[in-house]
């Protein structure tokens, strides 16, 4: 996705803020919506949110840095989340994560240099029966292996929006 133009940040943030009153309890939902639309929480957006809720911008930053779901920097074009829940872990989740790091040549939490892939860990997506799990752009892949990493990447690259499962249940 890369860096976003200032006008886009301004417009998208304004769009979200129109949906919410200035009550303090709206802080987290606003952050969620802005993050959903922009992919991350730019500084300018947080300043606008603070104005809208009439709170100090530091409080916005404080909440934004507390939760796993909020990013402060632009994400990759595709987001790969490797599940690190207990079931995934005991079925080799760490090896899966390391395989992704090697394949994408990026550390977990980072974005590849070409901006194509962001690699993240996720606490548990509650899909433990199908462990180990990898979630790519919101498509859940079950029973993954280190060897399936390449196939998922090829799929993501080939078909940007129409991604198939790799669980051996496909064609």
């Amino acid at each position: 996705m890369g860096q976003i133009m200032d006008e886009v940040i301004e417009d998208e943030t304004a769009f979200v803020l129109r949906l919410y009153s200035g009550e303090r309890k709206n802080l987290v939902p606003i952050l969620q919506d802005v993050c959903d639309r922009l992919g991350y929480l730019p500084r300018a957006a947080m300043e606008r949110i603070a104005e809208h809720l009439a709170i100090n911008r530091g409080e916005v930053y404080s909440a934004a840095t507390f939760y796993n779901q909020f990013r402060l920097s632009p994400p990759g074009r595709h987001t790969v989340k490797v599940c690190m829940g207990t079931a995934c872990h005991i079925k080799g989740g760490q090896l899966i994560l390391e395989a992704w790091e090697r394949e994408l040549d990026v550390d977990v939490g980072g974005v590849t240099r070409d901006g194509q892939f962001g690699l993240e860990r996720v606490a548990c997506v509650g899909c433990c029966a199908m462990a180990p799990i990898v979630v790519c752009d919101d498509v859940v892949h079950g029973r993954t292996r280190p060897t399936t990493v390449k196939g998922i990447i090829t799929n993501l690259n080939e078909r940007e929006h129409d991604i198939r499962g790799d669980s051996g249940q496909g064609d």
Binding site: K25, L27, G165
Partner: protein
């Protein structure tokens, strides 16, 4: 509209679907099903039905709990009993359409069983697991369309609310109290008593929160219920709100469950549309609204005071208790906060009575418990058993035992707040008090089964790593205590531990348990305490022998190719290695360059089973010294 009209219409719709004369295909599209490819199967079914002009109904349902066999579809064709099929691929879906929907062959080779008694094939309820299971909360899951409130109503839904609204709130509370229900979030506080405290508490307005922040890794019961039967949670919340006098409710669903969020949001709109939620519910004069709140990814928000802080609009940081939320919670007002399962059982208790409920379970733990079985167990998925069922019956009876003939080693129960129960305790009854006595915790009901290939020290390290990452950072004991415990565990799994570390680890674990501010910190040491008491020998092997008995800890194991087993002309391992650490040595025998090896284990998978030449060795000293790899002229290019 009066409820009888709503119900009659719902029943007509439901019966219409079942007795339409057309084939009915149910497909499980909860998250587990999707991970196994259910959406692709659904796409294929709809495409083929369309292309062939077949008149059949396709309904997306939730999770039946047989996650091991996902994707699951059930076909009800006139003239046949409804049949459940497992492990359905796009190919089998096509075959079922071709041979069963169009033909007369029900393809029993793909069937798990029928869903009703019949003379053709056994039902799934004849499976051995159903000798142990008793499904109350999960009864409708996977059998109704979670996005269709009529399915819920036609199957008994909302009649408990109607009944409750005719009772006084005291009668409702008394019923819950007499049922013996204890909170399913983990601590097991008597639910009726909590209702009573909140009811009596001074302060208006009162709030109700449904805690759907199922953060325990390895637990997915709440997700399954929210995705499969969301109306049961809404009905339970409404009854509870009526009992305590709350006018406004929140249902807090964790961010990692996008499908649950979507389905709950939809279900709320449907309930409001029928007047089962909102102003003057069913003309009773009682009003109650529910707002959906999405979590943002913080395990600590499962802790009730942190969850409240998060809803109020800031960091999800816990406060000291007392005051408990029941007297001073959201915005300082009395707030009833209960787990998803606790609330969704309420309609059953109201409908069938407190005596019925209290007849299930043990003396002090009433009712059923829903467990999520995952890890090294054959039947991964959901199980609902009466409280007091033994661990053995759950793992072997319901779970079908350990796959691959491996030895059962331990069960991780209750997530990072729980602990490990060893194989030596198979007959422990699983209920609140027996588990607490054994040093673990019921938690919300996640059970991850570990076999001989899992290292207990590494498993404890994993859980501490989890809590350490998820600590909110407010209090010293948890913020730094979990970090220091993790340091010690990392030393041990890296082969750098010292025996005296075990004493320090134990001391620290006890102090973090006794001295932390909130439940996260107070229970974080449980995995360490239980693994130390039941598996101390494994800790000692890591420390004294630098050996990982389960061959897991990367720093203590080597991958090694047994020369006498290596086929020599086969190159499978060489090709599989992502870091080019395997080369052909003398006579073509493959050798692993230990310095290059990243221990990913891919070569072990790739070595054809008839050779099985690759093994893991621990300690490292077991690997014989290798001839040096022949120096080639290629310069390292990075």
């Amino acid at each position: 509209m009066i409820f009888e009209e709503i119900r009659d219409r719902a029943i007509r719709e439901w019966e219409g679907l079942r007795n339409s004369g057309r084939p009915l295909i149910l497909i499980g599209t909860a998250t587990c099903g999707r991970a196994a490819g259910a959406m692709e199967v659904l796409e294929r079914i709809e495409r083929e039905l369309g292309e062939r002009g077949i008149d059949a109904d396709v309904v997306q349902v939730g999770c039946m709990g047989h996650c091991y066999a996902e994707p699951l579809i059930a076909i009800a064709k006139p003239g046949y009993p409804p049949i459940l099929y497992g492990y359905v691929t796009q190919g089998t879906a096509s075959q079922l359409i071709e041979n069963f929907i169009l033909g007369d062959d029900p393809c029993l080779e793909f069937a798990l069983g029928a869903l009703e008694e019949n003379e053709l094939i056994p039902t799934i309820f004849d499976m051995p697991r159903f000798r142990y299971e008793r499904r109350i909360l999960l009864e409708r899951c996977g059998f109704i369309d979670p996005q269709n409130i009529d399915h819920y109503i036609a199957n008994g839904g909302y009649s408990a609310l109607v009944k409750a609204l005719e009772m006084t709130s005291d009668e409702v509370i008394e019923g819950v109290r007499r049922s013996g229900l204890r909170g399913r979030g983990g601590a097991g506080f008597p639910t009726g008593e909590k209702f009573g405290i909140c009811r009596e508490a001074e302060g208006e307005p009162k709030y109700l929160i449904c805690n759907g922040d199922e953060g325990d890794p390895g637990a997915f019961m709440d997700r399954a219920i929210l995705e499969s039967d969301p109306q049961s949670v809404i009905e339970g919340m409404t009854i509870a709100a009526y009992a305590v006098g709350a006018l406004h409710g929140y249902i807090y669903v964790r961010a990692e469950y996008p499908l649950a969020v979507e389905r709950v949001r939809f279900a709320l709109r449907q309930a409001e549309g029928l007047g089962l939620l909102g102003q003057d519910i069913l003309g009773s004069g009682f009003s109650f609204g529910i707002e959906l709140v999405r979590g943002s990814g913080a395990f600590v928000c499962g802790e009730e005071t942190a969850l409240i802080a998060s809803i109020e609009g800031g960091r999800g940081v816990p406060h000291p208790r007392p005051p408990f939320p029941a007297t001073s919670g959201l915005w300082g007002k009395p707030t009833l906060i209960n787990n998803v399962k606790t609330l969704s059982i309420i309609p059953h208790i109201i409908s069938k009575g407190a005596d019925w409920y209290s007849s299930i379970g043990t003396e002090k733990s009433k009712g059923t418990a829903v467990f999520a079985l995952a890890g090294k167990v054959i039947n991964t998925g959901l199980a609902e058993v009466p409280m007091g069922t033994t661990l053995r019956d759950i793992i072997y009876g319901v779970g079908g035992g350990i796959p691959g003939g491996k030895r059962f080693k331990a069960v991780q129960i209750g997530g990072p707040s729980g602990g490990f129960l060893p194989e030596s305790m198979p007959d422990i009854p699983v209920d609140f008090d027996s588990l607490t006595e054994a040093g673990v915790m019921m938690g919300s009901g996640g059970m991850v089964i570990l076999d001989e290939d899992n290292c207990m020290v590494e498993a404890a390290r994993y859980l501490l790593d989890f809590t350490q990452r998820e600590s909110c950072g407010k209090c010293t004991m948890c913020r730094l205590g979990t970090k220091q415990m993790l340091n010690i565990l990392e030393d041990i799994t890296n082969g750098e531990g010292r025996l005296e570390d075990l004493g320090l680890l134990m001391e620290l674990a006890q102090d973090v348990r006794d001295g932390s501010l909130c439940g996260l910190g107070r229970t974080a040491p449980n995995p360490v305490l239980t693994s130390l008491s039941y598996f101390r020998d494994e800790y000692e092997a890591h420390i004294i022998e630098k050996r990982c008995p389960a061959l897991v800890c990367e720093k203590l194991i080597s991958y090694y190719i047994l020369p006498e087993r290596c086929e020599r002309s086969c190159d499978a391992c060489v090709g599989s290695c992502s870091v080019e650490a395997i080369y052909a040595g003398k006579g073509g025998v493959k050798v692993i360059d230990q310095e290059k090896c990243v221990k990913c284990g891919i070569c072990l998978d790739s070595c054809p089973p008839q050779y099985s030449a690759i093994v893991k060795l621990s300690p490292l000293s077991l690997v014989p010294p290798e001839e040096k790899k022949p120096e080639k002229s290629e310069e390292g290019d990075g």
